[in-house]
Amino acid sequence: MAIKLTTYGNTAGLHRRFTVRLTRDCSAEAMNHTDLALVVPLARESADLAQYKSFAAVITDSSVLFDRLAAAGIPAVRVQSTEGYREGYIVTIEPGSGFIRTIFRPESPHNTIFTTDRCNSNCLMCSQPPKEVDDSHLVEENIKMLSLIQASPEYIGMTGGEPTLLGPDLIRLLEAAKGKLPATHLHMLTNGRLYKDLAFVRRIADVNHPSFVSAIPLYADVAGIHDYIVQAHGAFDETVEGLYNAAEAGLAVEIRIVLHKQSIPRLKQLAEFIYWNFPFTVHVAFMGLENMGYVKKNWDDLWIDPVDYMDSLGEAVKYLYLRRINVSIYNLQLCLLPQSLWSFARKSISDFKNEYLDICSPCTVKDHCSGLFLSQVNRHSEHIHTLSVI
C-alpha cells in the first residue's frame, strides 16, 4: 500500500527550514530537546502550554491547540491528520509553505538519503528528472537526519540526482553515516561517471564504511547505445573507467540495468560484457520500468511489455546465474515472469510507492510479488493477471 510522505500544513512561529525527529512523548527526558517535534493528536491536547515550550515545534491536527500555540509564540504546525507522524519519524518542515517531508521511518526497509536534484546525465527513463538547483542545504539536513536516527536500520539507500556531484560533501555524508550508523548497509545509486577520478574514488574508499555498495547503471555493452540512453556523450567510457577505479580502490559495486525498448535488444550481450569485464560486481539487478518522470514523456521510445522481453531477460539471468554472478529482478510482477525466474524476483518497490491492482487481491502469490509502482496503476502490462498456484 502506497504511503504519503509529503504534505502541506500551516505553520506558526517557524523561521527557517529544519529537520526534526517526532515524538509523542512529552515526558521529562524529551524536554529541552530542540531536535524533537512533539506530535499532539486532536483530543490529547493539554490546557497547560508550558510543556510544549521546549520542543522545536508542535505538530497537531487540532485547530484550537494550533491557534493557542501561535498566540503564545510557540512554534507550531497544523496538519490534516497526525496519523502519518509516528514516533521516531524524521521530517523536514518548511516555514511559510508549510511543506512537510517525511525523510526517515524507523520501521521501513526503504529509507533513503536524498542527496541532490542535480545530475550530470539526463536518462531517457529518469523517474526523478534532474533539476539545476542549488540544494546544497540538503547535505546538512541529511547529516542532521543521520544524527537523529535512534537505532541503526539494516539498510539506507542514497539517491538523487547524482550523489557524487556533492564532491567533498559526499565524503562528509559517508563519514557521518559510518560514525552514526556503522551497522547500517549503505546503498548508493550513482551513475559512476565521476568515479573516473581515481583520487575521488580513493577518498570514498578511505572512509572505510563497513558496508557500502555503489549501485551503478550500465545500459549497453557499447558506448553509442548507453550514451544515448543516458543522453550524455562519453558517459559509457566514464562509467567503465569508474567501475574499474571502484574495483581498484576496493569499493563494492552493483550493476543496474533498467529494462526498456533501448536496453532490451542487446541484453544478452550486456550480460556477457558484465561477466567478462566486471566479474567483480557483487550483484546485477534487472529492473522493470517505473512510469514516472521522463518515462511518461518518452513512453513510445521506452515501453515494451515485459511479456515481450521475457525470453531475453530469462537468457541474461541464466547466463549470469550459471557464472555465479548474484542476480536479481526488480519491479516485475510474478504473473509476468515464468516460474523459473521467480526466485530472482525481489519485492523491490519502496513501500511508499507500492501498489497492487484489484485483480491482485485474490492472487495466491501476492505476498511474494513486488506489486506495481503507484505510477503504474493506470498504465501497465496488459498481461497482469491473477495467479492461483500453490
Partner: protein
C-alpha cells in the same frame, strides 16, 4: 521546470566511416563459420562473408555483428575509448596463474615400485633402498627450495615409484616442511600419489593428521586396470577398490582422487572405464593420453596409439559422460573442464597442463630421488632414458637462482609460450591451448617443435574444436552440465533455483 532536450540515437550511434582491427586470431570452423579469438580468450563466431566485410572495413557499423565485435574488443573506432585498461586487466587476469611462480613441487621419494606398468618409464623392482631412494638431506634441501618460491600457497606432491614404499621419508618431509614453514607461513597442500597397494591404517592416520590428500590410479574395470597395471603382489584393481573406500572414509571423498591413463587396450572401452569410475563413487575423471615418448619401439607398439585414435576415444567417452549427466549423475571430465573454463570464463586455472607459458619450470618442478631437479615429471622420466636436457640442477649443489633462473630454464622458457611458437602464434585456438617443450623435444628433437607433425597439436586442436562444436550445439541442459563441471558443482546446483514457498 523545463527539462533538457532529448537527442536522437543517431547522435550517439551514427555510422563510423573507418574502424581499426584490434589484435585477434581467426580460423574456419566449418563452411559457414569463422572463429575469432583474442589474447584473453573472448571469442565470436561469424559467417565467412561477414568476416570478409569486417576485415575490409565494409561492415555496417551500427549492425549487430559489428557491435558484438566492438563489445568484445575485436575492433576500435572513434565512438568511444578502447579501454586499454580493461583489456590489460583481462589479459593479466588470464595469465595470473603465473603469480607467485612455481607452485607444484614433486618429490620423487623413491623409484621402487611393486607394479610394473608398461607405460611407466621410471619404476624399479628392487629391494636396494640406498640406490633408488631420496636421502633425507636431499629432501630437506628440496623443501627449502619449495619454501623459497614467492607463492603463498604451494603443493608438495609425493611421487615414485611407489611413494609409500618410502613412507619414513614422506613423514620426514611433511614434518620438516611444516616445521620450517612455521616462520614462513605458506599454505602447503600435501598430496601423495600412491597405487594404494600397501595402504595401512598408520598411513591413513598420518594423512588425516596432516591433511594429506591421496591421488591414485585407476585405469578402468579390473580386466583393463590389471592389464595396464600388473602388480607382483596380486590384483592391483582389487587393492585400489578396497583401499579407495577406506581412504574415502578416512579422509573424505573430496580428498581422494584418481588418475586414468589410456593405453591401446583402453581405446575399446570408454563406457566401461567411466562406469567403473561411477561405480566407485568418483565424481570425475581426467581422460589422459600416454606421454608417448621414452618407450622402446616394441612397448609403443603394444600400448601406443595415434592422436587420431585417442581423439576418437575421447569424443566417445565425453559423449557418454554428458549422457550420464543428462540422466542425472553429476560426473565431470577434467580435460574438457579445463578447456571449457578457458573458453567460457575470464579467469585463469591452476592446472599445470595446457598453459602458456608451459608448466615445466614455471608451474611445476620435480625433485628426483637422486637430488637432480627437473622441469617436470615428464622431464625426469626422460632423464631415466639418459637424456638430461631438462635438468635444472641439483638440490645439493645449486642455489634457488641457479635452478629456476639458470641458462637451462631460460632455454626452456624461450620455447614455452605458444604466443611465440610457429604454427601457434596465429592459431585461433592459441588462448585455449598450451605449449609443451618437453613433449616436442622428446618426440621431435626440438623444444620449439613443428606443429605440422606434432601429436600434441593434433590432439589438442581436435579436442578444442570438438568442444567448440559441443558448445555451439549445446542446449540449456548441456550448458548447465558444463558449468557444473567448471564450478565443481552438482547438476542440481546449476538449475535455476525454485522459490522456497512454492510447493513442488
Amino acid at each position: 521546470m523545463a527539462h533538457k532536450e532529448f537527442h536522437m540515437i543517431q547522435e550517439y550511434l551514427s555510422p563510423v566511416t573507418t574502424y581499426s582491427l584490434l589484435p585477434f586470431r581467426f580460423m574456419r570452423l566449418d563452411r559457414d563459420s569463422v572463429l575469432l579469438t583474442n589474447d584473453w580468450g573472448e571469442f565470436k563466431i561469424i559467417a565467412p562473408d561477414t568476416f570478409e566485410r569486417f576485415i575490409h572495413n565494409q561492415l555496417n557499423t551500427t549492425g549487430t555483428d559489428y557491435l558484438d565485435l566492438r563489445a568484445k574488443y575485436f575492433v576500435s573506432d572513434t565512438r568511444s575509448s578502447d579501454h586499454l585498461r580493461v583489456m590489460a586487466s583481462k589479459y593479466r587476469t588470464k595469465k595470473s596463474f603465473l603469480e607467485g611462480f612455481t607452485k607444484l613441487h614433486l618429490f620423487v621419494v623413491t623409484l621402487r615400485c611393486d607394479h610394473s606398468c608398461p607405460y611407466c618409464q621410471v619404476s624399479r623392482q628392487s629391494e636396494d633402498k640406498t640406490r633408488y631412494d631420496m636421502t633425507s638431506e636431499m629432501a630437506h634441501r628440496a623443501v627449502d627450495l619449495m619454501l623459497r618460491v614467492p607463492a603463498s600457497a604451494v603443493t608438495c606432491e609425493f611421487q615414485g615409484g611407489e611413494a609409500l614404499l618410502n613412507f619414513p621419508l614422506v613423514q620426514d618431509i611433511v614434518l620438516y616442511a611444516t616445521e620450517r614453514n612455521r616462520s614462513i607461513g605458506k599454505f602447503i597442500d600435501f598430496v601423495i600419489c600412491t597405487n594404494l597397494s600397501n595402504l595401512t591404517d598408520a598411513h591413513l592416520l598420518f594423512f588425516k593428521e596432516h591433511n594429506i590428500k591421496i591421488s591414485s590410479s585407476l585405469d578402468g574395470p579390473a580386466f583393463l586396470h590389471d592389464h595396464n597395471r600388473p602388480c607382483s603382489r596380486g590384483s592391483s584393481h582389487a587393492f585400489v577398490e578396497h583401499n579407495l573406500r577406506r581412504a574415502q572414509e578416512a579422509l573424505g571423498r573430496e580428498n581422494v582422487s584418481v588418475l586414468m591413463t589410456t593405453t591401446k587396450k583402453s581405446l575399446a572401452y570408454p563406457r566401461e572405464i567411466i562406469d567403473e569410475y561411477v561405480r566407485l563413487n568418483l565424481g570425475s575423471i581426467v581422460l589422459r593420453s600416454l606421454s608417448p615418448f621414452g618407450f622402446a619401439t616394441k612397448t609403443m607398439k603394444t600400448i601406443g596409439y595415434s592422436s587420431e585414435e585417442f581423439v576418437e576415444f575421447y569424443k566417445k567417452a565425453l559423449d557418454y559422460i554428458i549422457e550420464l549427466n543428462r540422466r542425472g549423475h553429476s560426473f565431470a571430465e577434467g580435460y574438457a573442464t579445463l578447456i571449457l573454463s578457458k573458453i567460457l570464463t575470464p579467469f585463469p586455472n591452476s592446472y599445470v597442463d595446457l598453459q602458456s607459458p608451459a608448466g615445466a619450470g614455471f608451474s611445476a618442478v620435480a625433485y628426483n630421488y637422486d637430488g637432480e631437479v627437473y622441469a617436470s615429471d615428464e622431464a625426469r622420466m626422460l632423464a631415466e632414458m639418459n637424456d638430461t636436457s631438462f635438468r635444472l640442477g641439483n638440490v645439493l649443489d645449486n642455489s634457488y637462482e641457479q635452478i629456476f633462473f639458470g641458462e637451462r630454464m631460460q632455454a626452456i622458457a624461450a620455447a614455452s609460450c605458444n604466443e611465440a611458437l610457429a604454427g601457434c602464434a596465429d592459431c585461433a585456438l592459441q588462448p585455449y591451448c598450451g605449449a609443451d617443450p618437453v613433449y616436442h623435444y622428446a618426440t621431435q628433437g626440438d623444444m620449439f617443435g613443428n606443429r605440422a607433425s606434432s601429436g600434441f597439436c593434433k590432439k589438442n586442436m581436435a579436442i578444442i574444436r570438438h568442444i567448440f562444436e559441443l558448445l555451439r550445439q549445446a542446449n540449456s541442459e548441456t550448458e548447465e552440465i558444463f558449468w557444473s563441471w567448471i564450478h565443481q558443482a552438482s547438476r542440481e546446483e546449476m538449475k535455476l533455483p525454485k522459490v522456497s514457498w512454492l510447493s513442488n
